[in-house]
């Protein structure tokens, strides 16, 4: 494709514009009268249309165009930006996103947009969108039913899936598309889905499902899903077997014709292959009259070449990235850690030998390995935005379903976390957010009764502190009824009365994470609270994280998740306690200070200092780690001020040594759960220094 050199830019820019459209639309929904927002959406959509048309992505251009028409009406105040209309616009943005993703992955960006385009056109003609939409769906259904063989429930397949379908057909299997509709009142949808899949997998092989299986398991679907299956069983048998499961409202099974699908997909990839196909044909034609033999010999070669071209071309159209398995990065990281330890030694040796040439080389090597380290670490880091960016839409649709008004504020989306952690935290966070919206935030009427604003606020916050990243989910809803938690925990035998009496508020709320505890009076299908939270806790704990809850009745709840950075190389401040060396992560240090003993006060049995107008408690590391006293007392304290969120503490040490890069090594399985120690490191001179977990010291 001649435009391919622009493709990267196109994809990148389109994604930016889509993000703008998305953001502005969400904003618009809150302030339907703010026409400047419409203008912004309009502008982005318009640019997108222009770009798509230039690049020859017709479906993309067409859909943006119809969307633009609707936006134009809103902009000219001929149409009100009602939430039904915005729903349709959101849907079309979803389609646009799919198309652009497809293009980014080397696809053709083709997509069946007829239905959504029709809906937009209906709005444009001034018809009520929802009615038009359902009529459209009905019409579409009617068509497939009448046609009998008209062949698609709206699924599209990638090349691999098509090959599988075609091949299995050749081997005597029949490919089916099955649309299964669950009863509207179905509870435990995931279990139903599981039953369906069990039967399907017994009957044949599931090629594809929409939505994908993991979303089905999460219950991220309404009531229906489409499965593509290859099997030797007949349609009737399949129907009967699935029908055995209760709570299934409707089953629609359609035999699909891979050739037809294949044609579609060929048609889809036309722009790419056409030019080559034609040129090879042309050349064949041109040569054939002269002598047919050489041509025949030529052809297979040419074809091979074409094939190659195609395969080599595809990846280059996507972003210029390669995928590297995380294990390889782990190996790289481990090797590098060893290097860092040796670097420390070298530095030490060179400073002892005091040889000019040697120290110059060592310095240079240190610098380069520093850069290398940054690159390796960055390769593994991703902004939490990756996880957070799907939440605004989720909150929107969820609050809509539940008839609540919720405003989502996100802070610190740029906070970076190790890739492995990012991959894992999505689902548990979804769960917590659902929980907050479902059980935390009250309905508008209840809120007004309580004297709160009608709209609830959900705050999602991420920030670094020490060796940890904190993610907090805070709502200003009903809060958690502590007594209820206690009663429930007692009746379920999770704890005893005596244990309860010894527990702090936070520990009591922590009981929520025990399995089988649900304080919801009424369980909804959004979240049952009880089965989910213990899974959430387990997931975070398996990542080395900690979850805590705090709540005040009628004021709100806050779920706080502490996750390790898993950065195995960290910047630390080395300090000495007598002869022992300890390392304090630089990221949690605010500053260091020397304090005269006379400036230390006592408050509530706690030594404190007045630090720039704040009262900061002192923690004597010597006592914490039980370092033997040497006896000689100074009249000054060396204090390292550390912070966790907004809380501060002063760690009292004997002396400050200096700043170092160290490799964080776990203490291994012999020494787990050592208080306030997060690991150890080997210093340049071979000594071992323990790394202080400052977060454990700040209460």
């Amino acid at each position: 494709m001649s435009n391919s050199e622009y493709l990267d830019v196109f994809i990148e820019e389109s994604q930016e514009h889509l993000q703008t459209v998305n953001d502005s639309l969400l904003q618009l929904e809150k302030e339907p009268d703010d026409l400047s927002l419409v203008n912004e959406v309009f502008r982005s959509a318009h640019t997108l249309k222009g770009m798509a048309a230039t690049m020859g992505f017709e479906d993309l251009a067409h859909l943006t165009h119809t969307m633009e028409n609707v936006l134009d009406l809103i902009r000219n105040e001929e149409l009100e930006a009602s939430s039904e209309i915005l729903d349709v616009v959101f849907d079309s943005v979803d389609d646009l996103e799919e198309m652009i993703n497809d293009i980014a992955e080397g696809g053709s960006g083709k997509r069946d947009i007829q239905q959504i385009a029709d809906q937009l056109e209906a709005i444009q003609r001034g018809e009520a969108p929802s009615a038009a939409g359902s009529a459209e769906v009905a019409a579409a259904n009617a068509q497939t039913e009448v046609g009998g063989g008209a062949q698609n429930l709206g699924e599209s397949y990638d090349e691999f899936e098509l090959t599988v379908i075609t091949q299995s057909k050749e081997q005597g299997f029949s490919p089916y598309q099955i649309r299964i509709t669950l009863d509207e009142n179905t509870m435990l949808k995931a279990a139903r889905v599981y039953m369906v899949f069990e039967i399907l997998e017994e009957a044949g092989e599931v090629i594809k499902s929409t939505p994908p299986v993991d979303e089905l398991e999460e219950e991220n679907f309404d009531h229906e899903f489409i499965v593509t299956l290859v099997t030797k069983e007949s349609k009737e048998d399949l129907n009967e077997r699935i029908n055995r499961i209760s709570e299934i409202q409707n089953i629609e099974i359609i035999l699909i014709d891979p050739e037809e699908l294949g044609e579609n997909s060929e048609a889809e990839s036309e722009p790419k292959t056409e030019a080559q196909g034609q040129s090879s044909k042309d050349s064949a034609k041109a040569e054939s009259p002269e002598s047919s033999q050489p041509v025949q010999q030529l052809e297979p070669q040419q074809q091979k070449k074409d094939d190659k071209d195609e395969t080599t071309k595809k990846p280059s159209e996507a972003n210029k990235t390669i995928r590297v398995s995380i294990e390889r990065l782990d190996v790289l990281m481990n090797l590098f850690e060893e290097l860092v330890i040796d670097r420390g030694r070298l530095e030490q040796i060179s400073s002892e030998l005091d040889n000019n040439e040697l120290s110059e080389t060592v310095e240079r090597m240190s610098r380069i390995s520093g850069d290398l380290q940054e690159i390796i670490l960055n390769m593994r880091m991703m902004p939490v935005d990756q996880v957070f960016n799907r939440f605004p839409r989720m909150v929107r649709s969820l609050s809509k379903d539940l008839g609540k008004k919720v405003n989502l504020d996100i802070y610190g989306a740029e906070t970076e976390l190790d890739r492995t952690i990012i991959d894992e935290i999505g689902d548990p966070l979804v769960h917590l957010i659902r929980n907050s919206i479902d059980h935390g935030i009250e309905t508008p009427a209840e809120r007004l009764d309580k004297g709160k604003s009608e709209e609830g606020t959900l705050v999602l916050r991420a920030y670094h502190s020490g060796n940890n990243v904190f993610i907090e989910i805070e709502d200003d809803g009903a809060g958690i009824n502590q007594q209820k938690v206690i009663n429930k925990a007692l009746s379920n035998g999770v704890v005893t009365q005596e244990e309860i009496e010894k527990m702090s508020d936070e520990q009591i709320f922590g009981l929520l994470f025990e399995s089988g505890l649900s304080t919801a009076d009424q369980v909804t299908d959004v979240s049952g609270r009880g089965v989910g939270l213990d899974v959430v806790k387990n997931t975070f704990e398996s990542l080395g994280g900690v979850v805590t809850v705090n709540s005040e009745q009628n004021v709100g709840s806050i779920f706080s998740i502490q996750l390790p950075l898993t950065l195995s190389i960290i910047d630390v401040m080395l300090v000495e306690l007598q002869k022992e060396k300890y390392a304090i992560p630089l990221s949690s240090i605010v500053e260091t200070a020397i304090v005269n003993k006379e400036d230390v006060y006592s408050a509530h049995n706690q030594k404190v200092i007045d630090f720039r107008g704040n009262v900061v408690p002192l923690v004597f590391l010597k006592n914490v780690f039980e370092v033997p006293e040497a006896g000689i007392e100074d009249e000054y304290y060396s204090v390292v001020l550390v912070s966790k969120g907004e809380k501060m503490a002063g760690l009292v040490v004997d002396s400050l040594v200096g700043q170092h890069d160290v490799v964080l090594k776990s203490l291994g399985s012999y020494l787990t759960n050592v208080f306030a120690i997060s690991g150890a490191t080997i210093l340049g001179d071979g000594q071992v220094a323990l790394i202080v977990d400052t977060n454990a010291l700040i209460k």
Partner: protein, 118 residues
């Protein structure tokens, strides 16, 4: 007339299911209040169908299900679950339960599941 063994630790729940079943001409093969009893009665009576609560004292429904399945791999067992026991239900189905119903019971749901399972 098909015979049914009802297993639930709550007498109230047993009564409800019994009621529904009797209205629909099923014979009640027996009632059990825990998994232990359930397995015993199953051995004795060989019912055509078992409705099995999941959470019960002594022996829970999942274990009872597995034992019954070991006795008779063709046994038809329907699990009775409360909301929020999704993973248990899936475990049960893996272990061979034919279907499940969710509390609070609705008569038509119960009958649908039973008729489809038989």
């Amino acid at each position: 007339m098909a015979s049914v063994l009802i297993v639930d630790d709550a007498a109230f729940m047993r009564m409800m299911i019994k009621d529904i079943l009797q209205k629909n001409d099923f014979e009640i093969a027996g009632e059990a209040a825990n998994g232990e009893e359930a397995v015993e009665i199953f051995k004795d009576q060989q019912p055509d169908l078992v409705t099995m609560d999941i959470t019960m004292p002594e022996k829970d429904g999942l274990e009872a299900l597995k034992e019954i399945k070991a006795l008779d791999s063709n046994a038809t067992v329907i699990m009775c679950s409360a909301m929020g026991q999704q993973s248990m239900v899936i475990d049960a189905i893996q272990a061979g339960a034919k279907d499940f119903i969710v509390k609070p019971f609705q008569a038509d749901r119960v009958m649908e599941a039973i008729n489809k399972a038989m």
